[in-house]
């Protein structure tokens, strides 16, 4: 089931990145801080 484990790994990586990006984004926005392209204020 679920085929090649490395394929699963790559798909999982992509999914987790999306999940963490969503979490980070909502937390930072919740605090009224910028996210995304203007993330780096330097």
């Amino acid at each position: 089931m679920l085929g090649n484990k490395w394929l699963v790994f790559v798909v999982a990586l992509v999914v987790w990145v999306a999940v963490f990006y969503f979490i980070d984004k909502s937390i930072m926005e919740g605090q009224g801080l910028p996210v995304g392209a203007d993330l780096m204020p330097v």
Binding site: M1, K5, W16, I23, D24, M40
Partner: protein, 585 residues
């Protein structure tokens, strides 16, 4: 046991009547709207050359150690009891009873030391106590009554264990346990209200005159952060102490069967300690954030002012605890035949944990002479400087927590062989979770480093959430992945003696750490009894140096260790029978 019950009764009396007397006095005083008392330096009783502050400090800290222990153990005793009902494994039930057995003797001592604390406060700080009674009025009476109830339920819970062990009766027993824990927590919350009121008073006007209800004074800004912090710390602390007990028994027993039992008990206690410990930094973060929100000054006093050095020792202690807990978990891989497969990862985990420890130790600013600053080219070291600031430390602590959890997960996996068809793929999902989660923690740390303060604080929240996501996510996936798995034989007792010493590190370091945190929490008020309301004008109103505090904390920890040795000895005495008196009763 008779003796300890008598002691408890005596202590309960002290607690019951002392506040009542004070209350009567306060009723008369409260007739007019009156501010907090302003005692002058000479109004503080001097008794011989005795340092009143040290006496109160020692009594309070000792009371806290004991209370944390006796409140925490029933919490996980009932959880373990519940486990035995769910799994039908009687071993859990016996262990829960054993947990309680070693608390019983400590309980009366807790009350006794509490009475001593009250007495020393009344003797050395009568004005402060008078004021506190005025603010909290009847609540102190309720506290005393609850204390009586706590004693009753505790004794009923323990002594009815075997009588209410099977079938429906078990549920009665667990209800008593639930009541016991409810009362216990309420007691702690009330005591926390008094302490947090002194830090962030509410329900009084700026002169200290009581304008609000008792509930308003109770619900002061720092009450809930303190409640959560102490609740979690108690669990970790209780687990660590019981772990120390199990480790000692493991070393002392010769019988392999008993050795196996105590190994298992040590493992479970360590697990409980880590369980309470992992969310603790986050609770601490919340407490600190609330302190900042309540008074920026108080926050800066803690983190950037004269107390900043404390956090170096805190880092040493927490690092020690983490290393010891990890070492114990790694040693545990010996218990299973498949453990060796996982042992190869240990060195990588070790590198991260030790590395995190070192980063955490790196001080931010150093107190330097002019020459040293010149040689260094600034107050911050070029290479080490960045490691000293908060984002780096947050990154380090989160990685250490993730690694500690990983150590635990490795052992758990070594004891089960998955049978589901997607076991390997499922594992890859977990690996991917770790990879992405850790990357997220590190990049949030780097982001926090290069951005201004507001962002630094903001960026630490995703780190915390990442850590929790890794832990919760991989537990959830493993639950499904290991469904229907074949349990691998765990050879309980197949542990080195050396690994048991790691279990002693936990309670000793924890005790000292709690003492240190008590010192800092109390010092945050600087020269105030009740921050901004009632000034401390006593000759000892200053913050003692770190070294002086270290001496006191060490002395109190030694005293607490002595008490624990006595308590454990008592609990074993109860089951020791004189030769020739077998089954006489």
């Amino acid at each position: 046991m008779k003796l300890s019950r008598l002691l408890a009764l005596f202590a309960a009396f002290v607690l019951l009547f002392a506040p009542e007397l004070a209350l009567a006095a306060a009723d008369q005083a409260a007739a007019v709207l009156e501010g907090a008392p302003k005692p002058s330096r000479l109004d503080y009783p001097m008794i011989g050359g005795v340092s009143g502050r040290t006496v109160v400090w020692s009594a309070a800290q000792m009371h806290l150690f004991l209370a944390a222990f006796v409140l925490a153990v029933p919490l996980f005793a009932i959880a373990t009891e519940f486990m035995s009902v769910v799994t039908g494994d009687d071993r859990y039930d016996s262990m829960a009873r054993e947990f309680m057995k070693i608390t019983m003797a400590a309980y009366s001592l807790t009350a006794l030391v509490g009475g001593g604390l009250l007495l020393s406060l009344l003797v050395f700080y009568p004005h402060l106590m008078g004021y506190m009674v005025k603010v909290f009025r009847g609540q102190m009476l309720i506290y005393a009554m609850l204390f009586g109830l706590e004693s009753i339920t505790l004794y009923v819970y323990f002594y009815s264990w075997d009588a209410l062990r099977r079938g429906n009766r078990k549920w009665y027993h667990m209800s008593i346990g639930l009541l016991l824990n409810t009362v216990g927590l309420t007691l702690m919350f009330i005591a926390n209200a008094w302490v947090s009121f002194m830090m962030s008073p509410a329900g009084v006007d700026p002169t200290g005159a009581v304008t609000g209800t008792v509930w308003e004074a109770t619900r002061n800004p720092l009450w809930n952060p303190l409640n959560l912090h102490r609740f979690l710390a108690n669990i970790a602390y209780g687990g660590a102490i019981v772990g120390g007990y199990a480790a000692y028994m493991f070393l002392a027993e010769k019988d392999p069967e008993k050795k196996a039992h105590y190994d298992w008990m040590g493992y479970t206690s360590n697990f409980i300690a880590i369980l309470g410990f992992i969310p603790l930094p986050f609770a601490g973060y919340w407490l600190m954030a609330e302190i900042y929100a309540y008074s920026q000054q108080m926050g800066i006093t803690a983190m950037g002012g004269i107390l900043a050095w404390l956090f170096i020792i805190q880092a040493v202690l927490i690092g020690t605890i983490m290393l010891a807990a990890n070492y114990y978990l790694w040693s545990g891989l010996m218990r299973t035949d498949r453990g060796a497969e996982y042992a190869k990862y240990v060195k990588y985990i070790a590198v991260v944990v030790v590395g995190g420890f070192l980063v955490w130790l790196t001080p931010h600013t150093l107190i330097l002479t002019a020459n040293e600053i010149q040689n260094l080219g600034g107050t911050h070291h070029k290479i080490l400087g960045p490691l000293g600031i908060m984002p780096a430390k947050n990154t380090a602590v989160n990685l250490m927590l993730v690694m500690t959890f990983l150590s635990f997960q490795l052992f758990y996996r070594s004891s089960r062989i998955p049978t589901v068809s997607w076991a390997k793929s499922g594992n890859m999902i977990v690996v991917a979770l770790y990879v992405v989660g850790i990357t997220n923690i590190v990049s949030a740390g780097i982001y926090g480093y290069i951005t201004p303060t507001v962002y630094k604080v903001g960026a630490s929240v995703p780190q915390v959430v990442s850590t929790l996501t890794i832990i919760i996510g991989s537990v959830l996936i493993d639950v499904f992945r290991l469904r229907g798995s074949k349990p691998e034989k765990v050879y309980w007792g197949r542990m080195t003696n050396r690994s048991q010493y790691a279990l002693f590190v936990l309670p000793v370091a924890f005790t000292w750490l709690m003492g240190l945190m008590g010192y800092i929490r109390s010092s945050l008020r600087t020269n105030w009894h009740v921050y901004t309301i009632m000034k401390d004008n006593s000759p000892e109103n200053y913050i003692p140096t770190l070294g002086d505090a270290g001496n006191v904390i060490t002395a109190i920890t030694l005293g607490f260790m002595a008490i624990m040795v006595f308590v454990f000895w008592l609990s074993r005495l109860g089951q020791t029978k004189q030769k020739g008196t077998e089954d006489a009763a």
